[in-house]
Amino acid sequence: MSSATYKARHGMGRRVVAQALVAHDGFSARYDLNRLQGVFSRPAHKLVGQSYVDRVLVLDTAKGGVATAWMLHEMRSRHMAPAAIVFNTVNTILAQGAALGDVSMLAGFDGDITALIPHGAMVEIDPEARTIRVLEGAETPPADGPARVHGPR
């Protein structure tokens, strides 16, 4: 059992507890996802085939185009969005998309957050405190089940 906590420089949204999907890779809703099926679909992506729905995505950097600014909102409307997204480096589009789509977000850490958070761990995101806390550190594959979101959506 671990309770490691990491502080981000940027935070947005509400507190979330969910399972982490971790990879040192980029993220773009347009480039990387099959949004109808709720899985990573880009063949070269390290999370290809894995469901992102209701997970906390812990990734290196925001990539690609501007479409994600709309797409997070569209995914949220169908209950097919990630619970939160955590980046080493965010771009403006992902932040704008998180603002419209009501997806919690953290970005900017002193270390490589994709190396610090174990894949499959339960984590708590607190955007107000700008922290991500590991609730359990075991490297278990993400299982089905909704994220716990605190506050109205």
Partner: protein, 409 residues
């Protein structure tokens, strides 16, 4: 954020629902990035194809338009739509897609947005100038305007670009600030490309090396100033592969007359890039000799690209579909100069006002059986893998030949 009287009134709802919705969104984003205040902008450009918006995004737009208490305050234009209505059947697009597009267009129009439907507004509508603060969507538009024009924009997604149009301002952070525009990565090229696909591949390599939005590459070593179309492919691919919003070319782009002007003299050369690197990027996509479709898009083609394409189509008869996508501003000239007729006489199709990857690419693939796709756009090959395509990068000439033979040499 520090707000002035007018901005506080907007936020309080005193200027209507539309203005309040827009500025609430902008404050949320500005606070996230630590913006101190707003900066006035002169133009906005909105990416808003309905594959991205979905029903939820269109309804969000309709709620704003239905409020009837606000319109854009500055010239506000649109990126490509999700279809060319005249050619939708040929693309295998369904009626519901077109209906969603019509609803989005209606809402935008009621909000005062001009439906230019182009991602090459810097070639066709009005280029932003050095120091001009703008709110542009489409990463290719932003990187070109920032780098080649010296304008100041962040990547503004559709909701943020529309909000900027509605309020006439945007949060002052990122590439609106002098400090963010200094180079952070110094690269040297040993080879100057000729073909557009090579410029795109070079841009893709630079983007990968840059790695994230906040890196600003400065590039030395080109043996001539690139043309607008070359820089279009270069920048669009760089933005696509690397999320890059600004680059400098020493002696070419306006903020980097000399290396020292952007702080590049204080950086070591991080990497040298040569022809072998560009060829290697091409090879990484060359996985099948057979193709199902040829697409020239992303960015939309200029009049000069269409002129070149028309000449390559003369005397050919295509076995495979060849799609050439341009803007509604260029298409009339393409028709008038006979380029459309020459491309379509060979069996190709010239499309207007859309972009291939923004037009329900996955559904088109399923409806038309298009999987193996040849293009000269490095940006397009970087995007389409996630949509289930096998995209391959080649010169325009090789792609035209592939449309004729069904095989990419």
């Amino acid at each position: 954020m520090k707000l002035n009287e007018e901005e506080r009134a907007m936020l309080a709802g005193e200027m209507g629902f539309v203005a309040r919705t827009a500025i609430e969104h902008q404050v949320k984003v500005g606070d996230f990035f630590g913006a101190t205040d707003f900066v006035p902008v002169t133009q906005a450009h909105i990416m808003a194809d309905t594959e991205s918006l979905g029903q939820a995004g269109v309804m969000w737009l309709e709620r704003l338009a239905d409020a009837r208490d606000g319109q854009v305050r500055i010239p506000t234009i649109t990126d490509p739509r999700g279809t060319d209505f005249e050619k939708a059947a040929m693309l295998g697009q369904a009626d519901w897609m077109l209906e969603l597009e019509r609803r989005a267009i209606d809402a935008f129009t009621r909000l005062g947005v001009s439906m230019t439907d182009t991602c090459i507004n810097y070639q066709t509508v009005q280029a932003a100038t050095r120091g001009e603060h703008v709110a542009f969507g489409d990463t290719g538009v932003v990187v070109y305007s920032n780098s080649v024009g010296g304008a100041r924009s962040n990547f503004e997604g559709g909701p943020s670009a529309l909000s900027a149009g509605l309020t006439g301002r945007t949060p002052r952070y990122g590439y609106h600030l002098d400090a963010q525009r200094q180079a952070t990565l110094r690269l040297r090229v040993d080879w100057t490309p000729q073909a557009w696909n090579d410029w795109g591949a070079l841009g893709g390599i630079v983007g990968r090396l840059a790695g994230n939005y906040w890196q600003v590459p400065v590039i030395e070593g080109l043996d001539r100033p690139p043309t607008s179309d070359e820089l279009k492919h270069f920048g669009a691919a760089m933005a696509s592969f690397g999320s890059t919003a600004l680059f400098h070319l020493v002696g070419v782009t306006p903020e980097a007359a000399r290396l020292a002007d952007v702080g590049g003299d204080r950086l070591p050369v991080a990497q040298r890039i040569g022809q072998a690197d560009v060829r290697a990027l091409h090879r990484s996509y060359a996985v099948d000799s057979h193709i199902d479709v040829v697409v020239f898009s992303a960015p939309q083609l200029s009049l000069y690209e269409l002129r070149t394409l028309a000449a390559m189509c003369d005397g050919r008869r295509f076995k495979k579909p060849l799609l050439a996508v341009t803007s509604p501003q260029v298409k009339p000239d393409c028709d008038r100069f006979g380029y459309t007729q020459r491309i379509e006489a060979a069996g190709g199709t010239v499309l207007s006002g859309m972009c291939f990857y923004q037009s329900y690419a996955r559904e088109m693939s399923e409806a038309k059986g298009w999987k193996r796709l040849a293009t000269n756009s490095a940006k397009l090959v970087n995007i389409l893998g996630g949509y289930g395509y096998v995209p391959m990068l080649a010169s325009m000439e090789a792609c035209v030949q592939a449309a004729q033979t069904g095989e990419l040499a």
